[in-house]
């Protein structure tokens, strides 16, 4: 549904996208995971035919972004990173406006938007500018779906949105999966990666890895340990001095520690810490998450 080959884009001396290859299958929920400045929005702008590549090709629905922009625009729904609805129009007026622009009628019961509409309908007369962050995003999604696109492009729909509203938004994306729609969604939140069928990790314009979340985690090469004490943060610097340590970072109430030495065990870690005077420390081997993988890939 989306095919990207050797795609690069620079702005002056800044390489926003560097030789990107990406294939998204029909009806896939595909996540583009990376921090601000990784190149995610540039990629979205190219796929939405708002910017041209510097080199390489991108096709959406089989149409080339450089020569068939009009065909693409009819078939995509695009939700840009900046909230771009009319703040002083009501919820309903915004939806009707977008329906009009696309020359379609707004059908509340269309399977694509029925669930979302149910959630925002109670606020249909409220100006868009007076909705909460989570509700604004639901309205923007509704507007992006009103013309029944087959490819949905969502650029950071959950950035700055609180954890509860983020979950609700992802629940909606899951229900869309059964509606014959291909979705590309970007996010800086690593925990959202597991909700996608396939993900690409992106940093500094380069793709670090593409695969299913489970396969990316399976490729993690190091021994990972969880370390916890009453004052876990006080152990970060000592553990970084440990000769066998690859990396040590805080992860909520615990630390995640990767070791260079594949044979080293939790015993070695405890022994080292006890020699330094740190008692009552729990250390256990653990399975990595997407965030661990991202950290390792960033540094390799």
């Amino acid at each position: 549904m989306v095919q990207i080959e050797n795609l690069s884009r620079h702005f002056g001396s800044v390489q926003a996208l560097d030789n990107v290859h990406l294939h998204i299958e029909k009806n896939q929920l595909f996540g583009l995971i990376g921090p601000d400045g990784a190149g995610k929005s540039t990629l979205f702008d190219i796929l939405a035919t708002l910017r041209l590549p510097s080199s390489g090709t991108a096709r959406v629905h089989g149409f080339d972004v450089q020569t068939k922009a009009n065909q693409i625009r009819k078939r995509i729904g695009f939700m840009p990173g900046q909230f771009s609805l009319y703040q002083d129009l009501s919820v309903l007026e915004n939806i009707r406006f977008f329906a009009n622009v696309y020359g379609v009628a707004f059908e509340e019961s269309s399977p694509l938007i029925r669930d979302i509409w149910q959630q925002i309908a109670p606020f249909k007369h409220r100006p868009a500018g007076k909705l909460s962050g989570g509700m604004k995003q639901k309205l923007a999604l509704c507007c992006a779906l009103v013309h029944k696109p087959t490819v949905l492009l969502l650029d950071e729909p959950t950035t700055g949105v609180d954890p509860v509203s983020r979950k609700e938004f992802w629940e909606m994306l899951q229900t869309l999966k059964s509606q014959n729609i291909t979705t590309l969604v970007s996010t800086p939140y690593m925990d959202e990666a597991n909700l996608c069928e396939c993900i690409a990790l992106i940093q500094n314009g380069k793709i670090l890895a593409i695969n299913s979340p489970a396969a990316i985690v399976a490729q993690f090469e190091f021994n990972l340990f969880g370390v916890q004490s009453a004052h876990s943060n006080a152990l970060i610097n000592p553990l970084r001095q440990f000769e066998k340590t690859q990396h040590c970072f805080a992860f909520g109430k615990m630390l995640h520690l990767t070791l260079k030495d594949a044979c080293a065990t939790e015993k070695d870690i405890v022994e080292f810490l006890e020699k330094q005077g740190h008692k009552n420390v729990d250390v256990w081997p653990m399975k990595p998450g997407i965030e661990d993988c991202f950290i390792e890939l960033m540094q390799s």
């Binding site: 921090p35 601000d36 606020f123 950035t159 949105v161 954890p163 805080a250 109430k253 991202f294 960033m298």
Partner: protein, 246 residues
């Protein structure tokens, strides 16, 4: 016991007939890292603006660094640092020039500025980049700079509004290590975040729902109270909000 850095007593803020903050009371001790959590629209920013002396409370009172936020706003502002989500640093100045600019705004002498710059450069690893234009640096460096500027005048309390939004996982952790160092040196840190793993880095956290603090304790005690594995679970239980149609 030293006097609290922040003391808020039954703070209320109304905008017309809408009550953004209802009856907010809390105390934060010197050197404490206090996480101020809540859903979008829960009233966090309004509360923070009152504590910074930028917005007058409708009712109640609060003292920050010992000064009344309603009547002694200038004293409050001199004793606090503030880093907003859209941090205001100058892209077309170097790191060094930005630091010099803000330290002169805070009235530091050039000798004090030099000393502070040296300290911060060593503490936060800015040395290599002092002469670089801000516009040429990645987001992570800009955040380090914005934080350095927020603490340039050695405030007793620093307020951080979602300081780590959107940065990569390593930069996010490096930023927290900066927070730990600052708090260890005695500065009080008052921070908002949407990353629930970061709530665990705080000494105590509060969760605000619809203008009111629903829970305030150490992350561990809060998890125990709700029999939850993670702060994310607690947050979901509390903050699942009831948005009401008009």
């Amino acid at each position: 016991m030293s006097t609290p850095s922040i003391q808020a007593h039954q703070l209320v803020k109304k905008f017309g007939d809408f009550t953004a903050v209802k009856d907010l009371s809390l105390e934060v001790s010197p050197g404490e890292i206090f996480g101020f959590l809540g859903a979008n629209g829960a009233g966090k920013t309004t509360a923070m603006r009152m504590l910074c002396g930028l917005l007058k409370p409708s009712f109640g009172h609060a003292r920050v660094a010992g000064f009344d936020v309603a009547t002694q706003t200038e004293h409050v502002k001199k004793n606090i640092g503030y880093m907003s989500q859209k941090f205001s640093i100058y892209d077309d100045l170097t790191l060094k020039e930005n630091i010099q600019l803000f330290s002169s705004i805070y009235g530091l002498s050039s000798l004090q500025t030099q000393e502070r710059m040296k300290q911060l450069a060593v503490q936060f690893g800015l040395e290599d980049k002092l002469k670089s234009l801000v516009s040429t640096l990645p987001l992570g460096w800009k955040q380090k700079l914005a934080f350095s500027i927020a603490v340039i005048h050695q405030p007793r309390i620093v307020f951080l509004d979602e300081p780590t939004s959107g940065v990569d996982p390593i930069t996010r952790r490096q930023f927290w290590e900066m927070i730990f160092e600052t708090a260890n040196a005695g500065t009080t840190v008052f921070v908002t975040t949407h990353y629930m793993d970061e709530a665990e880095y705080c000494d105590r956290v509060s969760i605000m729902v619809e203008g009111q603090i629903q829970v305030l304790d150490t992350p561990q005690k809060i998890r125990e109270q709700f029999s939850a594995q993670t702060m994310d679970d607690v947050f979901s239980l509390l903050a699942r909000k009831k948005e009401t149609p008009t």
